[in-house]
Symmetry: C2
Subunit: 409 residues, 2 copies
């Protein structure tokens, strides 16, 4: 029993932390509750209820299904739902007219046949990438509305007034959703995307610095011959920061898809280049792969005995400098993304980085060959530097992309 109690307390604490980490999540829950409470007023007020009748249910249903965490998600689902319902209703009324003229015998076949064909075609269209990204929800609603209207037309007589009521209630639901989500503590997908990009850059910067630092700290500790294994084995949390960059593709894609639907707000204009965020994200992931490879090298280098690694110290200065410059470029870039400006400081940081890379290459050539004879660990070392250089090259791509982006804003 005590174990059970501890479990409950533990999971309660975890849930509390989810809310405390990002209070907007709790606010989102309250917003959904508020939107539902607002829509339920339609049931309680006699005059409003008489206007739409039992179809008021559809307003409730719309609010539950359309309300999303970000404003972009809400607009996407709301518009898709409204347009798909309207167009499906028009098509269905047309087919209904044909079916009702065709006699009792053929009527069910025409209705079912048209549902079969349209549903099959629409479902297949969801596999087309563009449709999938932008109209997935709309296609579902199209199938839904079409089959509801076409099939129930067989039993219901006042089909047109039913369709009218439904479109009316759905637009009420959609507008309540949009008002609540955009006016009360709005969560903009574009802003999330923007901040995530800047944050990822800073994490990468921290990881590059921490990784190279760890490498030389470990080397120094080894040379003092102290058994500091436990301090070596735990990479600092900074060095782990790049891991979330590795798998950022899915969330970036969905955010930039949703951000397209958002109206202009704050610094985000009507034709904000959201596609560019994807390119920057891809370049950053590339950079993160390099950091990953670098970490691998550092980890395996930690296992080589330091006495065999004489080449290591000669490069320490150059490497640390390159890493620091890389980190500075990333931080400048992050700052320039945050403020949506091109700063001259960024250009200068890039130039500094390139100079540092060239210095490192020169240092690499000037290492006495006697050291390199013990190639086992020198390989690690040069691999590390090469990965760093690769990362720097990637960074160059990132920054040139960024400059392009900021020139467009």
């Amino acid at each position: 029993l005590l174990a059970f109690r501890e479990k409950v307390v533990g999971s309660c604490r975890r849930v509390w932390r989810i809310g405390a980490d990002d209070p907007r999540r709790a606010v989102h829950g309250l917003k959904v509750g508020l939107a539902l409470a607002l829509v339920s007023v339609f049931y309680y007020t006699r005059t409003l209820y008489d206007g739409v009748g039992g179809a008021a249910m559809w307003a409730v249903l719309t609010v539950v299904v359309v309300f999303e965490y970000t404003v972009g998600g809400c607009v996407y689902k709301g518009l898709n739902r409204a347009i798909a319902t309207a167009s499906a209703a028009v098509v269905a009324l047309g087919v209904h007219w044909i079916a009702s003229k065709s006699g009792d015998k053929f009527e069910p076949f025409i209705r079912s046949g048209s549902v079969f064909l349209l549903a099959a075609a629409a479902t297949f269209s969801r596999f087309i990438p563009t449709v999938k990204a932008r109209f997935d929800y709309g296609v579902t609603i199209f199938i839904l509305t079409y089959s509801l209207v076409a099939v129930s037309g067989y039993r219901v007589d006042a089909l047109v007034s039913m369709a009218e009521q439904r479109v009316c209630t759905i637009s009420i639901g959609v507008s309540i959703c949009l008002a609540v989500s955009a006016l009360i503590c709005p969560v903009w997908a574009s802003q999330e995307l923007h901040l995530a990009t800047a944050r990822n850059m800073e994490k990468l910067a921290g990881a590059i610095e921490a990784c190279v630092e760890d490498y030389y700290l470990a080397a120094a500790a080894d040379e003092e011959d102290e058994p500091t294994n436990n301090s070596k084995k735990q990479p600092s949390s900074k060095a782990e920061g790049y891991k979330c960059v590795l798998n950022s593709k899915a969330s970036e894609d969905s955010l930039s898809n949703l951000a397209r639907w958002e109206p202009p707000h704050g610094g985000f204009g009507f034709r904000h280049p959201y596609g560019q965020y994807k390119n920057v994200g891809a370049a950053m992931r590339h950079c993160a792969y390099c950091v990953e490879a670098l970490t691998g090298c550092v980890r395996s280098a930690g296992e080589v005995h330091p006495a065999k690694a004489p080449g290591r110290r000669q490069l320490a200065d150059a490497c640390t400098r390159v890493a620091a410059r890389c980190a500075r470029v990333l931080r400048e870039a992050s700052g320039s993304v945050r403020s949506m400006t091109t700063s001259r400081a960024l250009d200068m940081a890039v130039a500094d980085m390139n100079a540092a890379v060239e210095e490192m290459q020169a240092d690499l050539r000037s290492i006495p060959s006697s050291c390199l004879l013990l190639a086992g660990s020198a390989a690690e070392n040069t691999a590390a530097t090469s990965a760093l250089m690769d990362a720097a090259a990637q960074l160059f791509t990132v920054t040139s992309l960024l400059i392009e982006v900021s020139s467009r804003i």
Copy 2:
């Protein structure tokens, strides 16, 4: 007009290719149509219609919303929908009983208040990772049903019979969905996951081989001093194969989540270790990051003039051998995943690979130091070999994981 016509033809051809690449997509469309046609029979048959009345609409709605591409997705949504509807109806009837006892004045407030509270709590619970992964859809349906029943209880009298009808129609819809999706050309999420894992391994194997081959081919071409730049610049399609492994996390996660819901079928038992696929996938992504770094090294090595790269040829044999062994291990592993057995050939391939890696390390040490003086390109070279070694180490992890997996089957 001609340009427009060409555009239409082009997009038609693209759509056709989507269907031709994977005919199961077209079959999926037809299956949705079939399920809808089946459910619409309820409207046309007098006796069935009298049984459920106007609530037959809910069966149509359920089919449209629940039908998913994989069987696992169908079961997940169907079970979530059925259980969430039933539990929400029970809670809502309880609240309805309290509200109807509390007098006209307080009734709307009790109803709206309970909707507000429950909706806020349920929406917030969707941010908890476990709930998100397994019951996301169920929570939406819970909110939906609860608010519909609780709110419409204010106007509708025969609430219990309404709830009964609805549960009945929803279970009809769910069972039609399950029958159609599991009996006619079923697409099992578990099988998709299984095949994708095996396919990714083969792609990685091809990429490792092709990458190292490209490197030495380019070197050879350079030494013949022919301007074969164009053949160098285009990496073979094999070498690009690893790119889809890099971003496989999202699809793997969703597939393994859905596969959990599937009933036992074929070689997949009731407690098939789907979680292990995620681990294998993570190890393979790690491997792909190494390949990515390796490709970067090869690309930048292509720009160094070959006269400065004397160390390159000494290692050619060793590198090619390591790459070939790595690829063999991956192919063996892929075969062992496909057949779900542990083969002794895999163990032997791993042993071979480790031997080749050690040979390469020995070769690396024996390179005359005079070559290494020209460290500029030797760095590239050793970086490449180090990345290969890293990849081999990762492979070792993959295979040990695999052996664990297969011992559990």
